[in-house]
C-alpha cells in the first residue's frame, strides 16, 4: 500500500531541489527548470490527493490545469529570455541590472 505520506515526501524533495536551483543558478534557463520542478512537485501533490475524489475528480482536473499553466508560463518565459539575450548578450540574471531608459 502506497500511502499519501510517501507521495508528499517525494514531492517535498522535488520542491526543495527546485528551490535550490532557483536560488543558486546563474542561468535563466536553469532557473526556469527549477520553477518547472517546483510546479511538478505541486502537481504530484494534487494527483496524490485526487485518488480520494472519485466523483468530482478535483485533484486530477486541477493537475491538468496546472500542467497547461506551466506550458503557458514556459512559452512566455522563454520569449522573455530570448529578448533579454538579444539586448544584453547574457542570460545571467545578476548581470541584467539596467532599465531600458
Amino acid at each position: 500500500m502506497i500511502t499519501l505520506t510517501d507521495f508528499l515526501i517525494v514531492s517535498a524533495a522535488l520542491f526543495c531541489i527546485g528551490l535550490y536551483m532557483i536560488v543558486s543558478k546563474h542561468n535563466a534557463i536553469q532557473i526556469l527548470i527549477g520553477i518547472e520542478l517546483m510546479l511538478n512537485a505541486a502537481i504530484l501533490n494534487l494527483v496524490a490527493f485526487g485518488k480520494f475524489d472519485k466523483i468530482a475528480n478535483g485533484g486530477q482536473v486541477f493537475a491538468l490545469f496546472a500542467i497547461v499553466l506551466a506550458a503557458a508560463t514556459t512559452a512566455v518565459a522563454l520569449a522573455i529570455i530570448l529578448n533579454v539575450y538579444k539586448k544584453y548578450k547574457t542570460i545571467d540574471p545578476r548581470k541584467i541590472n539596467n532599465l531600458k531608459d
Binding site: D6, I33, F52, V61, F65, T73
Partner: protein, 183 residues
Amino acid sequence: MSLAQVLFYVMAFIVVASALFVASSKNLVRSIFMFFITLFGLAGLYVLALADFVAVTQIVIYVGGVLVLILFAFMLSGKETLNVLQQQKSKFISLNKLPALLLAALFFVVMVNVILKSDVDNVYWVKMVRGANRQIKPNDLMTDNIGINLMTRYLLPFEAISILLMMALVGAAHLTRKEQGTV
C-alpha cells in the same frame, strides 16, 4: 511488499536522483536531457497514483512541448550561455552555493516535519472516503469521468484557462517577433 510499492520506490528514486543531477550538473544540455528522465519518472508516479490521463498529458505536454521549447531556446541563445557555466568550475558544494544548499536542506527538514506531524493518511475526509470504500481503484476507468467533469463541473475554469493559454501564446509570439522599422 507488493509490486506497486517496489515500483513506487524505484520511480521515486529515479525522480529524486535525476532531479539532483539536474541541479548539480555543470553542463546545461546534459541537465536538460536529465530533466526528461525526471519528467518520465513523474509520469510513472502519476500512474501509480492511479491518474493515467494526467500521466499521458504530462508526457505529451511536458516532454513533447515544454522541453523541446527549452531546448530550442537554449540553442537559439548561442554559445555565450555555455561560457557563463564554464567559468565556475567548482565542486557541487562550493562556498557561494552553501547558503542556497542550506536554505533548501532546512526547508526540506521543515516540510518533512510538517508532513509527518499532519499525518495526512488520517485526515478526516480521506478517512471518510476510505471508510466508505469510495477511493479510485486500480481497475476503474477514470478518463471518461474526467471528460464529463471537465465539460460540466469545471467548465468555467476550463474556458478561462483556454483563453489564458491563447493570450499567453499570442503574447509569446508577439515578444519574439522581429522588430521592423519603428520601435
